[in-house]
Structures are given as structure tokens and as C-alpha cells.
Symmetry: D2
Subunit: 340 residues, 4 copies
């Protein structure tokens, strides 16, 4: 049984493991004030050529979203997202648990558009309704699609013109960065108020690197991390991992591997429709139920929505550890089915 | 510079690192549903000879306290603790952030007593005040003292007679378990509604193992973990670590090492008063300021309260990694000072 | 300028004012424990022929919704409503501020259907998503439509079969009760877990009477009222008003007057389309913009959505104090416009 | 049975009732945007000779405290109060329910001192603890004592020097204002960031008038009112009442009557010790239990703490409606007891 269920089925990339091993006996400051966190941050600042960003290391994605969004909004303010946004569906109401409404529109190819944002702020006009204050997008999206630089700029400029913050959930940012002609880390610094660079789904044991660009959102941020139970005692673990990811292009290299494995899947599935067009490490083919049943004997993956009586959409995800041999084996089974 | 600042300055015990290495490439279920979590839980159930406990693995202590306390209380209910309790002082209001008041009394040697609890519930009589519903104690306490089995039983029986839950914060439980004649894991199962077995301060990279005994507090608990951002995607990491800690008596052995190192400190400091009597891995000597200044040149530790014009209390903490040689060196400096 | 803006533009029905005057100098217990609250409750219990209901008097509608919903749900549970539901749109995120997500579907003639509820619970299957636990409907709805007894029963039975609570927002319940063949107070006791009988929009100075039928939702409810700042010190004011409303059929009579005034409006507007069919005290005609401009010179009302380039929907609301003469004058202006 | 239990046992002062009657049929804007709220605010602005204050009318005291404090603090910030402060004891954790810790010190004659505040901020030094940001005092205090102008100034200046807000709970402000040489309304505008002028306990049916002086705390405040369920639909009721209270010195006159009635009680009780020295409308005599039993036959009042085996402290409160005849009758019973 080989798993394409998600990109957190395995442990960490060997270089990360090696770095953790090497530093295990050193005594470090706790709570993210250690030298490794500092070094990782300094490398990142150079990568994006900006010394003014604030960088914090948290453990998981839902946590990062909840801590950052709740700390940025006044209690009557709301965050805008697509209906398929991770914060809207798959975080057990973590944002609402901090007191904030998530305002949604149906996604378009997984994405949010300026028009959607506009229609929401046009509807919210006085103190009897929540006040939209932040826009949340994911890069890559929950359906694997990717915002272009122009799309990012358009949303960002609209946000600035309308006094909204733009926050980018980068749980799978590496897969987007590894593609050609997509927004770079530097672009994200220039065209968002904050974003996070996901580690958990990109080869780390765990960890998300939150980058805050907007000065208004920086104040006392560590209080928020601590209050939400998100401050790791051995913060060094995050510093060591991200230092490694930020060095020698490792973060992008992992993204490239993921995308390459997904490309092979896409090529092998070219005879089938895709639910959403995705160039990244998630693939959503629409397959005959019979084929799905067959594949399930040897592979694990998530079955999404039923498309019609005979077809379902499934989700295949590749990770830093996905093996080419297994991907090719999988495609072989697909081809056999087609040829039968 | 050698650090006695805390018990999370180093990485993890080598056996834990080894186990993480060995399992790194395996594909596992996410979110704590993997085989390692299951195996760790099964070992624990055997250790305490009880199959009905619910076991959950979380990342950190503040997080575990906030998730468990908030999920156990109705919104108008409060938790009782000593003023020095971790939830009252050092969690940035994490409990209040979930909506609950912490009701306190000044600690007695770091501990809470039945009389304190009684005086609080006697004061809270109607719906104009919060309703006390849970008692929170720490084993070992924040001052290193340890509840005896009789003290634990007394508090538990009082709680049951008064419809209160008893929750034990075991961030440093291993140090208590490693002492003679202290409550065992099985005692904790018998005389509390829930407790957690701390990993972060006991040799793990991170992780706390929450044990829920009271059936009323078990329902849908994973929803609470997820909503508070406390569900680790690669939950296997927790399973692997706690499986190791629960095997071959490792958890107790780490506690014994910590206590032994602290015993050497205590012996070397016998000429000085202690702020609180502690038999565990935290030591609180009251030292001349001159001595403190001298020690600071080679050692890091926390300076607590000023005692008088010439004396301060300091805190020394030992960990799984504390080296005997360093402890002896430290005592040598103490002796030199005494003899000068 | 005469106002059809809402049903809370004037003070209170003269019988209520009279009762407040008469009792002004009496000394009463505070916080809703006075004899008038008790008497009002006893009258209500007789009206619905049920002694087991719990009755609480609160000040306003948003407050009642927030106190009741938050006290009924565990933190990870959510409430289902139509998108136009008062709690979803017009309460500034009051429900989310207590930590709970509102799950919505587009309304059908202002109403929620069993199919909508079903589609929501079918989607929410595990602990990565909130857990739907309560259904919220309004009688009359925000668009003036009214649930039939069969619709109420269907929703209630579906809720019971699916372990959901049914809560009915009765801000304008009197207008529904005053219609023929609509669910009675007794029906609401039989086919909901809780509902409230609105006073503010039904002729009281203020006040909402919350009726809790489900025993599970009754425990310690006064703690919730107090904690949310919803317990009126001079609770007698609520008791006196609701005693009056529940006596001599006054509550229904006020509803009849409101509906009658609205019927005259409806008759006078029969040449125009209605946005939603409403038999109650809110009317939503689609009018030419020119007519709207003309009416605005003498009347105030809310202009809702634009329908097309030449038409808008407006909302007209009648109250206990609406005067027939003014309604007829308004219709006269309409007729003039038609005839011009 | 005559009641000295509290100052909200009766309805409203006749002038308030009269004003409500007179305006009952007028159509007004809802939600506090009516002309009466505007007029009341304009009168108040003249009284304090300041046009820049923001004035909001809310329904009750716990509500006002919770809405204002929660809207002023970031989530990790805390409010400082004496242990006997209303927000700490008698609001069922309403402040904590909005996520904020209340930091306390034992009261001194009912009051908070600069030293207490200082000791709290000295203890809270980093992000592992909450951040003190607001000081809460009550005028009069919960024990009837009154801050002098110098005390108010000292606290205010300390707050400004330490970046803290000062908020004054004026539930019984009228009783303080009616005394000689106490801070005036204008003083409160000059030496606090916000305060409220209590109506409920000062002769209104209900209602508290919140005055915000600090510009930082004014933004979007109506959103907070609405979200917390504190925005009265018929806001006119608050405007009409406070317009009356602010006219013809009525608010102060009510305070004077309350104090005069309390002075007669104090004079009649001069042979007994007082628990706390109070010059205002609350009196806390320490009486023999036998006397208390006797008084209970004809009077209702609250029995506070036991002082010794033979004595209890009781609380006597006078209101706008307290009758001299009844007070004198009460004192007669006291004298009889003394003479027996």
C-alpha cells in the first residue's frame, strides 16, 4: 500500500534530520530566542532583501492562521476567503473560536477574485454587520491552483485601496515557488501584509514560518503566540529546520521534486478530466469508480466529491519523499485499466 | 557558560532521536491516528492497568492546559489554582482567552490545599459569580514540591464530594514519579479526572500526553484539539517519542537522572536556605548577591525574588542532559566562595 | 414624515405603559426574581399548558440569540441558518464572538428547509470541521414569511433524528401567531427545543421572553444571562410588560393590528411584484425608482436591493402604533402615481 | 417589610416616568441615533465643557464594563482592579468571557492605590505573562467609599506615565457627585480615559451613559455595542431618561437624597462599628446577630461577612425612592434594641 493521501505522511527531509542530530546536545535559549531561529531569519531577510520583516516560527498551519488572524483583527472585524479556504472548512472553526466571522464566496478554480472581495465589502456597510478587514488566500490553493503575480498584485492593490489586510497561507508555498513565473518570496513581501512559509507539508518535521510585513501587525506579536499555546519551548527545533530549508535552495528543491512527481501523475492521467487545473503537488483527476476501486487495492488517497453515477474526483498528493518508482507503478495501473 | 536555566535547553534523549531516525521514511496516518500513537497508548494502558482511559498527544504544556480546561468547562465555570500555578502566571492568560476565570489562593510550599479549595467554593454561591468547577494542581509544582499520595487523595475526594474535576499538570511528572513514595501513574488514574505526562521537560523534543479518565470529559475531544490548533499533522512524531518514553522505564530513568543531579546541587548548597523545599529537579536556594554575581560569569540561571538587601533566590533546573561534571564544577565554585 | 422603517420606532403599547406606571413605586426583588416575572411565567405556562418549560426574560434579540446559542453549544459546535438569518447578517458577528460558526444555505422565500440542513450535516463528517448541532429559524422570517405547522414539524423531527437542537427566533412571533393556521405557542413548545417571544418589536418598551423546553439546555441558565451582561437589575420591568402582553390576548391583538395594517398596504400595492411573499407585518414591494423617490418625501422606509435599472425593492413595516389613516394616505400616494 | 437591599428595588424617578410617557407615541430613529440621545449628549457636553467626548448609552453595568473593557484591550492585555471590584466578583466572569484576565490586589477601604498598580506592573514583564493595560476603579466603590480628587489624579497620572488606560465604573456615580469636595463630572473627563454615569442605581428604569475621552478608544465603538447585544432597539428610552437626569440637576439631586437618607442611617448607627467608612448611599454597620435577627422581621437587607461569633456586617442601601419615614422607623428599632 503506497500513500498519495497527503504530503505529511513521512517524517522529514534527510538534511533536516541531519541538522537536528548535529545540534541535539547544544544548550539553547528557549521559546524561539535561540541562535538558530535568528540565523534562519537572517538568511530569509537576505533572500527577500528586506530587513524590516518580522519573522516568527510556529508549529502548525491551523495554529498559525488562528494566531495571526485573531491578533490582527479587532473583535468586530471579519476575514474574507473562498468557501473552500482552509480556514473556512478544515480548521474546526478555529477562526470563529477566536471570535471572528469568515465571510465567503464560492471559489473560482480554487481562487478568490477582486470582484468577490468587492461584493462582500459592498454588502457590509454599518455597525449592524461585521466589518471586513482581512483577505485570506492560499498559495497554492486548497485545489492546487496558483495565483499569478498579476492576480496577487490586483488583490493586494485592491486591499490597500480598501483598507484591508492581505494574508497568504503558504502551507504549500514551496510547490508554488518551484514553478516558473509565479510570485517569488520577494513578491510576497512586496504584495502582502503577511504570509507564512509552510514547513509541515514541505519536508520539515513540523513548523510554519510567519512573515509579517505590515508594521501595524507586528506589535507584541509574541504575546499572541504564547497566549494561543503556540510558542514551542524548544524553539530551536524550528530554527534548525528552517535554517536548513532556507539554505542551499532546499525549500525550492523540495517543491520541484513534489511538482515533478505530480507532473508524472498528470501526464499519466492526461486522458481524464481534472476537477480543477493544478500545476502543483496536488492533482484532482475525475476517474471512473471502477478504476478508483482498483487503485484502492494498492494505494491510499482521498476520494472527493461524486461527479456523476460513474465518476468520482480523487485527490493525489506528492511529497518530498514521493518515489518516482511508485508514481510510475501507479501510472502503469492506470494504463492497464485504460487498455483493458 | 553552562545553563541551569531550565529543562528544555537541549534537544531530545538519544533513544528518542534514534527512534525518530528509524521511522523517518515510513508512511503513516496523520493527526495522531498512526500506529505509533496507538502503540504508545497501549503501553501506557498496560502500565496503569486500565483500558478505559482516553489518551491524546499534544505539542506543548500551555496548549494542553488551554485545550483541556476550556473543553471541560461550561462558559461560566472557573478553575481553581494556587497563585503560582502555571496557568495563572506564565501562560499569558491562555485560560482567560478561552473565556474562563482562574480563581486563586496564595500557595503553601507551592501547593494547593483542601482548605483553599473550600474557601473558594464557599464564596461562590450564586449566578452573579463564576461557578468553580475544576481544580488544577501541578506535579511537581512550579516550586519543585511534590504532592504526596495522601494529599492527592484528599484533594480528589474533596473534589468528588463537591462536584469538581481534578486536573493534574504533569509538565515535570517524571521527576515526581522518580521519587520514592510519591503517587504513581496508576494513582493518578485513580485519583484525578485527567492529567498529562509531560514530554517537553522530560527529554522529548516536544509533546505532552493527556490522559482523560472521567468519561464526561472524553466526548469529541479531538474536535477541541483541532480547533485550538493543537493537532499535529505528523502526529507520528508524538507517538514515536512517547512509545520510547513509556518503554524500558525510560521516562522514570530520565526523572531519576534529573533528581540525582539536583540532589548533588542540594547537597552542595546545604549551607544556604531554600525558598521552597523541593525534592525534585528544581532547586531554589537563597544566595548572597555577591555569590550570584560570581556564578553568573560561568552559569546561566533565573534570578527569582529579592529576599533582602543582600540575598536573592535563584532557580536551578536539571534536565535529562545535565552533566555530573558540570554540576560538580558548579558546587566547587560555591565552596570556593564559602571558603573565601 | 411618517415612518414605516421598522416596528420599534414608537414607545410601548398604552396598556404596558399603564402597568409600568401602576407598579413604579413597589419594591421588588432584582434580576428577574420578582413577582411580576413569576406571574408572567405562570400565565404563559397556562397558555401553553406546560409546567416544565423554563422561562427567562432578556432585554433584546441579538442578546437573546447570543446568550442562548452560546450556552447551548460546545465550543466546536455550529449553528445552521439561512444566509438571510438575523444571526448571520445583522448581529455584527455576535454568535462568532462567542466562538461559534454559523453554517448557511441561501434562503428559500426567507426560509430554511430540511434539505438544506441535510446537505450541511452531510458535509460535516469529522473533527477537522465544526460539528453542526443547532438549527436556527425565525418566525416570522427576516422576509416576513411564515413557517407552517407542517414545515415546523418536519424541521423539528429531522433535528431530533439527527441530534440537533431547534431554536426559533420569535422577534416578530406575534405577527405570525395572529395569522390563521400558523403554529401556536403550544406548537412551538411541542416542536422546538427553545424559542423566544419577542417583545421589542411587538409593542413592549423592550424585552424578549425565552422559553426553554429541552431539559438539557436549562441547567444554570441564569449564569449565562449574567455573564453576557443580559440580566436586567430591575427585572420587574420585563415581568410587568410580559404579564401585560400575555393577559387578555394583548400579544395576539398587537399582531393582528400589525398584520391588518400590512394587509392594507398589500392591497394597495397589488399592482406591484413582491420580492418575497409575506403575510405578516413586513412587506417587500418592488417599486419604480421614481415612485420611491416620491414616497421618500413624506415617508421613511428602508430601500433594499436594486432589482433592475428602474426598480428597487423596499421594506415597509407596521407596528402596534401604526395608524390606519397614515397607511391609507400612503396608499393614496401610490394610487396617484399609478394614475399619473 | 421595607427593603434596604439595594438601589434598584423600585422603578424610576417620577420625572423620568413623566418624560417617557410624554414621548411614547413619537416615532424615533432606532439604536441610539434618535434626537433624545443627541440632546442628552449635548447637555452632558455642556456640563463638562467638552465637545470631544464620545457618549454612548447602554442598558446595564456588567454589560457596559464588558463591552468597554473588551473593546479597549488587545487579546493578551489585562485589567487591574481591587479584589472587591465589581468586575472581579459580581459579573460571573464577564470580562474573562471576553478573553481578558483581571489582575487584583486586596482593596484598601474599598479602593485601589497607585502602589497596588505599580506592584502589578512590576511583576508583568514579558510575553509569558499577560500585559496590564487598563486600571478599573469604581466611584463610589463597592464598599461605598469615594476617591478624592487627589487620589483620582494620582492614579490617572500614574496610568499615563505607564501607558495604562483608566476606566471609572460610575454605577453609583451620582452618590459620589452629590458629596462635597469629590471629583466632578468635569474632573472625570480630565482625569480618566473613560467612565460611565450610572442610571440603573440612580433613579432610571435602566441605562448607563458611557463617556469615552481617549480618542484611541473611540473608533467604531458602536460595532462593539451591537456585537455584544448591548444596542437597544428603542434607544430613545435611554436618551429620554438621561436627558431628564442631566437636566435641572436631577442626577445630583437624586444622589443628595440617597446620601441624606444614608446619613440618617449612619447617625442612628453611630454606636456601632462600620466595616468600611462610607459617606455615600451604602452603609456597612457591624451589628450583633440578635439585632440583625430582629431587624430581619421588618426589613430586608444583605448580610455580609461574619465578623465574630456574635457579630455580622450588613449592607444597607438607600435609593431615589427611600422614604425618610421608613429610615426613621428603622433607627427607632435600633434604638429600642440598644435601650433594651
Amino acid at each position: 500500500m503506497y500513500s498519495f493521501t497527503n504530503d505529511y505522511s513521512e517524517g522529514a527531509h534527510p538534511k533536516i534530520i541531519e541538522a537536528l542530530l548535529k545540534t541535539n546536545y547544544e544548550q539553547c535559549e528557549g521559546y524561539g530566542l535561540d541562535k538558530y531561529c535568528l540565523e534562519a531569519t537572517n538568511i530569509l531577510k537576505k533572500l527577500v532583501d528586506n530587513n524590516d520583516i518580522d519573522v516568527h516560527y510556529l508549529v502548525g498551519g491551523t495554529q498559525t492562521n488562528a494566531v495571526f488572524i485573531s491578533s490582527s483583527l479587532k473583535q468586530y472585524q471579519a476575514v474574507i476567503a473562498v468557501d473552500s479556504g482552509h480556514i473556512n472548512v478544515h480548521e474546526t472553526g478555529a477562526i470563529e473560536a477566536t471570535g471572528h466571522k469568515v465571510l465567503t464566496r464560492p471559489h473560482l478554480n480554487g481562487k478568490l477574485t477582486v470582484n468577490m472581495i468587492k461584493s462582500i465589502i459592498d454588502e457590509h456597510i454599518d455597525e449592524h454587520m461585521v466589518q471586513p478587514k482581512m483577505v485570506y488566500i492560499s498559495q497554492t490553493t486548497e485545489y492546487g491552483s496558483v495565483y499569478t503575480l498579476n492576480e496577487l498584485k490586483d488583490i493586494y492593490h485592491f486591499c490597500k485601496a480598501n483598507n484591508l489586510y492581505l494574508f497568504v497561507d503558504g502551507a504549500r508555498l514551496g510547490s508554488a515557488l518551484a514553478l516558473e513565473n509565479t510570485p517569488t518570496l520577494k513578491d510576497l513581501v512586496n504584495y502582502s501584509d503577511a504570509f507564512y512559509i509552510g514547513g509541515t507539508k514541505m519536508g520539515a518535521l513540523f513548523g510554519e514560518c510567519l512573515v509579517i510585513i505590515n508594521d501595524q501587525l507586528k506589535t507584541d506579536f509574541r504575546y499572541n503566540i504564547k497566549q494561543r499555546g503556540a510558542m514551542l519551548a524548544k524553539g530551536r527545533l524550528l530554527g534548525v529546520q528552517f535554517k536548513e530549508l532556507f539554505s542551499n535552495n532546499l525549500y525550492i528543491e523540495i517543491g520541484k521534486h513534489e511538482n515533478l512527481m505530480a507532473d508524472i501523475l498528470r501526464a499519466g492521467l492526461k486522458d481524464f478530466d481534472m476537477y480543477v487545473d493544478s500545476p502543483s503537488n496536488q492533482v484532482f483527476p475525475i476517474l471512473p469508480k471502477k478504476l478508483i476501486e482498483k487503485l484502492k487495492q494498492d494505494y491510499s488517497f482521498i476520494v472527493m466529491d461524486q461527479i456523476d453515477d460513474n465518476h468520482n474526483c480523487i485527490r493525489l498528493v506528492t511529497s518530498w519523499a514521493t518515489q518516482r518508482k511508485e508514481v510510475e507503478e501507479f501510472i502503469k495501473e492506470i494504463n492497464q485499466f485504460i487498455n483493458d
